[in-house]
């Protein structure tokens, strides 16, 4: 048993932290306030190699393993970068590029990965629909094979990056009768006839990320753009969970560390009743609860990353535990961060309220906490 990271990993994490703190975080407050995606941030992510982190160097990436990807995500969160840009990065790299990397043909990888790695193309993944989220297998977007193309019809919603994306990984069904087994994955390009995206949605948190519906209206997809073979979509979606439960949520861990540091500094300097408020137990209790959360979340996330790197298949039980705890307890402790700051906690310039709004997504996106509990309960009941 070994919980340490190597010196090389530590130095890498340190360099990502410094980059994010100096070059990205200063732009976050305004981006979140306006709810606007900042392309300068995106370009810098690309130049730093973050967008293609897990992609092999031969396709323009950095060839990083799961643990390294988590370290980078944690560092960016720790630097105080807003949830919006972090989510945009996560969806692009781990929900879109990673799928193409893991399931793509050589031709698909060569076409899409290099530009996704630089960030010239923005990618997204569309599974959720207006009529089905938790019950993802009940999706109604259809795909029909006609000669040398598939024709896709239906709509997706809550798709991170959709308004800005060139590359869409879309899940549709070839045969509803086959249920899970009919679901198939497709790579759709913005230029293909019949695809359009809706207006960006206004969200509680992660506001700088662009989120919208995706409309497929007899969208024509070349036959060679089927990803991973017909009928394999459900397995591909489940497989994507391993990224979602580790690399995608690692920034939450960093964000909470950022919050803890801000809370500690504030508690040291803010005075009430003739003393710094750190002397009050109600303040200490919140700091302690944040620290406990951080240590537990760290273990949960890196356990998955470390076992993936050792070649162990993802344990769905572990994944569900992760998501549930990181999401639920994350939001609770983020709310305590706001409490600690008192009135100032409610004001946008103090970063805690943004952390709380961003943290709410942890309980909802990528699988709700209710579903996580359902997954664990089903396992226990077997």
């Amino acid at each position: 048993m070994d919980f340490s990271i190597s010196e090389e990993q530590r130095m890498f994490q340190e360099s990502v932290y410094r980059f994010a703190k100096n070059q990205i975080a200063p732009l976050s407050e305004e981006a979140d306030l306006k709810g606007e995606f900042n392309f300068e941030i995106w370009q810098k992510f690309g130049e730093m190699g973050l967008l293609g982190l897990p992609v092999p160097e031969s396709y323009g990436g950095s060839g990083a393993d799961f643990v390294t990807c988590c370290l980078a995500g944690e560092a960016v969160g720790h630097a105080g970068v807003d949830g919006g840009h972090i989510l945009a990065w996560g969806a692009h790299t781990y929900l879109c590029a990673a799928n193409i990397l893991q399931h793509g043909t050589e031709a698909q990888k060569e076409r899409y990965l290099p530009k996704l790695c630089t960030g010239e193309w923005i990618g997204c993944m569309g599974l959720t629909e207006p009529g089905c989220g938790s019950d993802a297998a009940a999706l109604t977007t259809t795909a029909v094979c006609r000669g040398d193309r598939y024709i896709l019809s239906g709509s997706k919603t809550f798709i991170t990056n959709a308004p800005l994306a060139q590359v869409f990984v879309i899940f549709a069904t070839l045969d509803k009768e086959k249920k899970h087994k009919g679901i198939t994955t497709f790579i759709v390009e913005r230029d293909f006839p019949g695809i359009s995206t809706g207006k960006p949605m206004h969200k509680m948190g992660c506001r700088a990320s662009a989120t919208s519906e995706v409309f497929l209206d007899e969208c024509e997809v070349p036959i060679e753009n089927c990803l991973g073979g017909e009928g394999n979509g459900w397995l591909i979606a489940l497989g994507g969970v391993e990224w979602d439960r580790s690399t995608l949520i690692a920034p939450f861990l960093g964000g909470h560390t950022f919050m803890l540091e801000n809370c500690a500094r504030y508690a040291n300097q803010r005075r009430a009743f003739n003393r710094p408020i750190r002397e009050f137990q109600s303040i200490q209790n919140r700091i302690a609860d944040m620290k406990v959360y951080i240590e537990a979340a760290r273990l949960a996330i890196y356990r998955i990353a470390a076992s993936k790197d050792s070649g162990v298949a993802l344990n769905p039980l572990t994944a569900a535990v992760n998501k549930m705890y990181v999401g639920d307890r994350g939001f609770e402790t983020a709310s305590e961060g706001v409490d600690l700051f008192g009135g100032y906690g409610y004001i946008h310039e103090y970063p805690v309220e943004r952390i709380m709004r961003d943290a709410k997504l942890g309980q909802l996106g990528g699988g709700t906490s209710d579903i996580m509990r359902m997954i664990v309960a089903r396992f226990l009941m077997m």
Binding site: D2, N268, Q269, Q284, A288, E295, V376, A377, L380
Partner: protein, 385 residues
């Protein structure tokens, strides 16, 4: 980075689990309700069995991760036995092992390891728990002997112990860190009175009572490590190992509650199906699983960090103790609810586990003290000049 237990620890876990299921678990319910004489006899027999199984020697050694792994299995089978074993082998035994003179170690450790003698450890008093500065027990040097006066409360194992470690003032004026001694007192010492057993809410098989000293005279050789003034620091050092042990207790109770609740969820039917299939029950099982799973990782990391002498180990240890102890309480509460009306009856396992669980968030550093300690570390680290 590697989250897997070593092969050796996996074997230990399996063997300890099998041993506890067979030899310890069956007596757990009875220990909770047995009258004093019977409880004392059963606990002594359990400790002897744990000695033969290698658990007491493990507690005296330095394999902290092994202790956590094996300890969880024991706590799951019988939390009361876990507490008694911990009090004897870790609180008492490790104090002697780490700080005793060779003679003191030779006198006590072999019989503690063999389960032939039982140790007890006394710090808490009526006016001193979290704040040991409020202690009143004194040790006065007179004619080459130490004279102890005062009373210690809540001494686990006192009714059955052969030897006690007592924290007492040697010089109150110099304060806790320089003015206390840890004294080895045999049961036979004159002036030592073991009061009748206290009635505790839970862990009732771990017999507990107050211990009173009236001019109790012991020899010079009774001072642990012959280190005058060092008692509090010795105690604090061993307390780190005790915190780790209490974390294992929390997980063990949590796992026992989860297993009982899962079994109930599968077998009890309502409205046409096993109740575990209703979210109202299933979600609770999921929370139990999650808290145990995370608590276990935190405890293992704390053990690893302590073995590595990692500067973060004290905070991680505190985080683990806080998390698992509060988790045990929450899990036990959920378990009663899952069992419905029958959960409210004496004789149902979760009723006992609920009372057992309550101990964890109080003992060996209350949750309040853990939070204060954890917060201080962060507050001190992140302050602008």
């Amino acid at each position: 980075m590697d989250y897997e237990l070593s092969e050796g620890h996996k074997r230990l876990q399996a063997e300890m689990g099998a041993f506890c299921r067979e030899k310890i678990a069956p007596g757990a319910a009875l220990l909770d309700v047995a009258p004093f004489e019977e409880a004392a006899a059963r606990m002594k027999a359990n400790l002897k069995a744990l000695a033969s199984a290698g658990y007491l020697p493990l507690c005296l050694g330095t394999d902290l991760l092994g202790r956590s792994v094996a300890g969880e299995e024991l706590a799951r089978a019988c939390p009361a036995t876990f507490l008694a074993a911990t009090s004897s082998a870790i609180l008492f035994g490790r104090s002697v092992k780490r700080f005793g003179t060779e003679a003191q170690q030779e006198r006590y450790l072999p019989s503690i390891a063999a389960g032939d003698a039982i140790g007890a450890f006394a710090c808490t008093e009526a006016e001193a728990g979290s704040d040991l500065g409020g202690m009143a027990v004194t040790a006065e040097k007179r004619d080459g002997r130490w004279i102890l006066n005062g009373e210690k409360d809540l001494v686990t194992n006192a009714p059955i112990a052969d030897a006690f470690l007592i924290l007492a003032w040697t010089d109150r004026n110099t304060g806790l860190e320089k003015g206390t001694g840890f004294f080895l007192v045999p049961r036979s010492a004159e002036g030592l009175t073991i009061e009748k057993p206290s009635e505790t809410m839970g862990l009732r098989g771990a017999l507990t009572s107050s211990v009173r000293f009236s001019n109790c005279a012991i020899g010079e050789e009774a001072l642990l490590g012959e280190a005058a003034g060092a008692g509090y620091n010795q105690m604090a050092a061993v307390m780190e190992e005790v915190k780790l042990a209490v974390a294992a207790l929390g997980i063990g109770i949590g796992v026992a509650c989860m297993e009982e609740s899962t079994r109930h969820g599968k077998t009890k039917k309502a409205f046409g199906k096993p109740i575990g299939l209703f979210e109202g029950v299933g979600a609770k099982l999921a929370i139990m699983f999650t808290l145990n799973d995370l608590g276990r990782m935190m405890t293992h990391k704390a053990a690893w960090a302590m073995e590595q002498k990692d500067p973060e180990s004290a905070v991680l240890n505190s985080c683990a103790k806080l998390f698992t102890s509060e988790a045990a309480g929450r899990i036990a509460d959920l378990a009663i609810q899952v069992h419905g009306g029958h959960g409210y009856l004496k004789g149902t396992a979760v009723e006992r586990l609920y009372r057992d669980a309550r101990f964890a968030a109080i003992a060996y550093g209350t949750s309040e003290m853990q939070r204060a300690f954890i917060a201080k570390e962060s507050l001190d680290r992140f302050r602008d000049a």
